[in-house]
């Protein structure tokens, strides 16, 4: 048993109001994939931040090659051979791949372009992938982008490669590619840290699994344990560790849910549904680094939950904003209850019953400096009873806000608290409360459960079902295929800005959707 390359002991990091890492200890070994498993909010990202030099721990030690070290900046981390592929891309869209890779050399004045080309070829060969050095980072497909990020992490000869939730935007096929790449790196003796919240990935990739829960190491499984136990046993163990004693009931509930879902889905035959939202050959131009959509046609029926699947960045935002009215469609027609609304501004569409639960909760979903109470009614500014003759009626606002906060279980000290101080899950609840509490008819959900814990996630999915079965309709845009398979009646697939097909949900839907997602040549190569 060789000595660990990197050893973390007793790491502790606190932020105001939350203990992100509590006495965490970890060992990273060469030639081994170590999976860090845990729910969102369990402290994984903070730990990674500490390893990569972005965050300084409050307490604890880090040993590299047996020697105690301080990693006080990304530069130090790189010097010690720790390369990180972050969850959010650190590629600069306007620069070329080569320029992105060359970034960070402070020893020389001139750019060593030839040397960089050679190194890229070398590393690409090691990984078994192909990368075009002169392509603009913004033009790359997501799978290729990730490969470039891996090359970048290895650029200066790292021995430890950290991957933070790399698969959240990958198709099953791309995931298999990633597995292959990681396998090759393993052979070369790399120590790999793989962070994820998906159990099946950890089981598939990991030689060693450490489970984080509420900032602490809740349990760990080493190679032997993973090998010896049966798949079911290992699964059960991990679930137990991740969710504690409540694990059993979670599993039960999950099964019950599935049954309910099956039953409710068997409801209305689709042919009889009245079409409430219709898109006909809608095109929206690209904006900056965001892809647009072209010739998208879809029809959402009353009582239906229609999913839109696709790799992130394939036009989802453009689609959502075209429907909500935040962006103008350049071509095509959008009809709500049969009436054409393409020319209507956002407010007018809201009046007709259209709602939009945005994925960018803090960036546009709430105004952080305003109170929770006001945020709940920001889409009804000027309307009675909250405003009379243009004047705000504080009492009415706060009273109704209190009711909504109770109804949607928003954890906040008071309705007057600034929305920006709430946790992610509660901000999402505020957004949902706002969108769903006032006569919603057709609601567009964009990544509604992203980054939320299990309980809130299932609450949200319930809300979506209730909306649809209760006389409304839902369009759920999500990159989480599992989620779509669970709640949707049909799933459409968005790829490179086009709607490439729609699949009825049921047995075999997953494979069908996966196939549609990679239907284009670019993704296939990635």
């Amino acid at each position: 048993m060789d000595a660990p390359l990197v050893e973390l002991s007793g790491i502790r990091k606190a932020y105001p109001g939350v203990l992100a890492n509590d006495d965490v200890s970890l060992e990273l070994r060469a030639g081994e994939v170590h999976c860090l498993l845990g729910e969102n909010g369990a402290g994984k990202s903070t730990l990674i931040g500490i390893l990569s030099g972005l965050v300084r721990p409050d307490a604890g030690t880090i040993r590299i090659d047996g020697r105690e070290t301080t990693i006080d900046s990304p530069r130090t981390a790189l010097e010690h051979g720790i390369g990180t592929v972050y969850q959010h891309s650190t590629l600069i869209p306007a620069l070329s791949v080569l320029e992105n890779l060359m970034l960070g050399d402070t020893r020389h004045l001139r750019l060593d372009v030839d040397g960089a080309r050679r190194r890229l070829r070398e590393l690409a060969g090691v990984l078994g992938v192909e990368v075009d050095p002169d392509a603009r980072a913004a033009d790359l497909a997501l799978g290729s982008q990730q490969q470039v990020e891996i090359v970048k992490a290895l650029w200066r000869g790292s021995r430890v490669l950290i991957l933070d939730e790399p698969t959240s935007m990958l198709t099953p096929q791309a995931f298999a590619e990633l597995e292959k790449v990681l396998g090759r790196l393993e052979e070369q003796g790399q120590a790999i840290v793989f962070i994820t919240h998906k159990l099946h990935e950890a089981l598939s990739l990991g030689d060693r699994i450490t489970i984080l829960r509420h900032g602490r190491v809740a349990g760990a499984l080493d190679e032997r344990q993973l090998r010896d136990g049966s798949a079911e046993e290992v699964r059960a163990t991990i679930v137990r560790i991740m969710f504690g004693e409540a694990a059993r009931s979670v599993a039960d509930v999950a099964e019950l849910q599935d049954e309910l879902v099956e039953r409710s889905r068997a409801g209305l035959p689709r042919a009889e549904r009245e079409t409430v939202l219709e898109l006909e050959d809608v095109s929206v131009p690209a904006q900056g680094a965001e892809m647009g959509i072209a010739d998208v046609s879809l029809a959402l029926g009353l009582g239906e939950i229609l999913g839109v699947a696709g790799i992130d960045g394939n036009g989802q935002r453009a689609l959502a904003e075209a429907i909500s009215g935040q962006r103008q469609a350049a071509a095509g027609e959008i009809r709500l209850f049969g009436a054409p609304i393409s020319r209507f501004p956002v407010a007018a569409r809201q009046k007709l019953g259209l709602r939009y639960v945005t994925d960018d909760r803090l960036g546009e979903g709430v105004v952080q400096s305003l109170s929770v109470a006001l945020n709940l009614f920001l889409k009804r500014i000027g309307q009675r009873p909250f405003w009379r003759l243009g004047r705000v009626q504080r009492g009415v606002v706060e009273k109704r806000a209190g009711e909504l906060v109770r109804e949607y279980d928003v954890r906040t000290p008071s309705v007057r608290t600034r929305a920006g101080t709430l946790s992610g899950g509660n901000v999402q609840k505020v957004v949902l409360a706002r969108e769903l509490s006032f006569e919603p008819k057709v609601v567009v959900f964009h990544k509604p459960t992203y980054g939320l814990d299990v309980r809130t996630t299932s609450t949200v999915r319930d809300l979506i079902r209730r909306l649809a079965r209760g006389g409304g309709a839902a369009l759920v845009i999500s990159t989480d295929l599992d989620e779509l398979l669970e709640i949707c009646d049909r799933i459409a697939v968005l790829s490179r800005g086009r709607l490439v097909g729609t699949v009825e949900n049921g047995p075999g839907a997953a494979e069908e959707v996966g196939r549609l997602m990679v239907g284009d040549p670019v993704s296939e190569a990635a």
């Binding site: 900046s73 130090t76 060359m102």
Partner: protein
């Protein structure tokens, strides 16, 4: 009749010469602003820095009896003013626009006060600046000649040629060096630069200092070579013009030369017209460059390019 008057050698020679004369201070300043903007720092205080450079440059040349001391003094003054920008905006993350306004106001006030306190009502002047001729080229008609022997294109003070070389240097810097790449990264996506292990703060600090130095140089050139004198508020909005040139140049140093030259022409157009007998009120002449900018902005509204991380302070860990 007017057309006939305009279409003369005298007129066009004057236009070119005048454009060059008025354009050089703009060129220096706009080049500096380009560096800053590329790195993500929006420097509204350019007008104040230019004035400080003009004032200190004048003093340096007046008491030092050589233009070079003046330029040095101007560079120093501009850089010193930009230290304020560096500390307050890059290091502390304060609002770049507010600090820029403050620097402009303070710069305007202090140069006026100091100049008044020192020289009172007298207005000391500097002599003509020695020029360097490029043999051969200075015989080209229109470009090579000047107006009454003044200011032909190829007989300029040495610092002007150095200025052109500097523009080329900066262009090369952006394209082919690590320094340039770091600057561009700082302006496009500072998180990426940080993750690559380079200090965003240091990169932006150097950029802001360079901007101040160049703005100071531009101001110094204005008072030393163009006007030969310092008067309060002598820049008359040229610092802001330089900001516009930098924005329209879309971060490309060579476009800075073209933009500066064109706006230099609009500044000096009134003199050229006067030369051929067309009299326009000084107010209208003064208005011309700004009017031209408005028109340019209306026509090219979509094309002004600004790096995404402009005017946003970088704090590691915040997103």
């Amino acid at each position: 009749m007017i057309v006939a008057t305009i279409w003369t050698q005298v007129f066009w020679t004057s236009v070119v010469a005048g454009g060059l004369l008025a354009g050089v201070p703009l060129m220096f300043t706009a080049l500096g602003e380009t560096i800053s903007e590329r790195a993500g720092v929006l420097n509204i205080g350019l007008e104040g820095m230019m004035l400080l450079g003009a004032y200190c440059g004048f003093l340096g040349a007046y008491y030092g009896h050589t233009q070079w001391l003046g330029y040095l003094a101007g560079i120093g003054a501009g850089a010193a003013a930009s230290v304020l920008m560096v500390v307050l905006c890059v290091w502390l993350g304060l609002d770049q626009i507010v600090v820029g306004i403050a620097i402009t106001l303070a710069g305007e006030g202090i140069t006026s006060v100091l100049h008044g306190a020192q020289f009172g009502a007298s207005e000391p002047r500097l002599g003509a600046t020695p020029t360097l001729a490029i043999p051969g080229l200075d015989r080209i008609p229109i470009l090579g000649e000047g107006v009454h022997g003044q200011n032909p294109l190829f007989r300029q003070p040495l610092v002007v040629y150095l200025g052109f070389a500097l523009v080329g240097l900066v262009a090369w810097l952006f394209r082919s060096t690590n320094v340039g790449l770091n600057l561009r990264a700082a302006g496009e996506k500072p998180e990426a630069l940080d993750a690559a292990g380079v200090s965003v703060v240091a990169t932006r600090s150097y950029a802001a200092l360079a901007t101040g130095a160049l703005a100071g140089l531009g101001g110094a050139y204005l008072s030393i070579a163009v006007a030969g004198v310092f008067t309060p508020f002598i820049t008359q909005g040229q610092g802001f013009m330089a900001i516009v040139i930098a924005m329209l140049a879309r971060g490309k140093p060579l476009w800075v030369i073209i933009g500066s030259f064109l706006f230099g022409i609009s500044i000096s157009m009134i003199d050229s017209l006067q030369l051929v007998g067309i009299d326009i009120s000084t107010d209208f002449g003064h208005m011309l460059p700004f009017l031209a900018i408005i028109v340019a902005l209306v026509l090219f509204a979509r094309r002004a390019y600004l790096p995404p991380a402009l005017a946003l302070p970088y704090v590691r860990g915040a997103r």
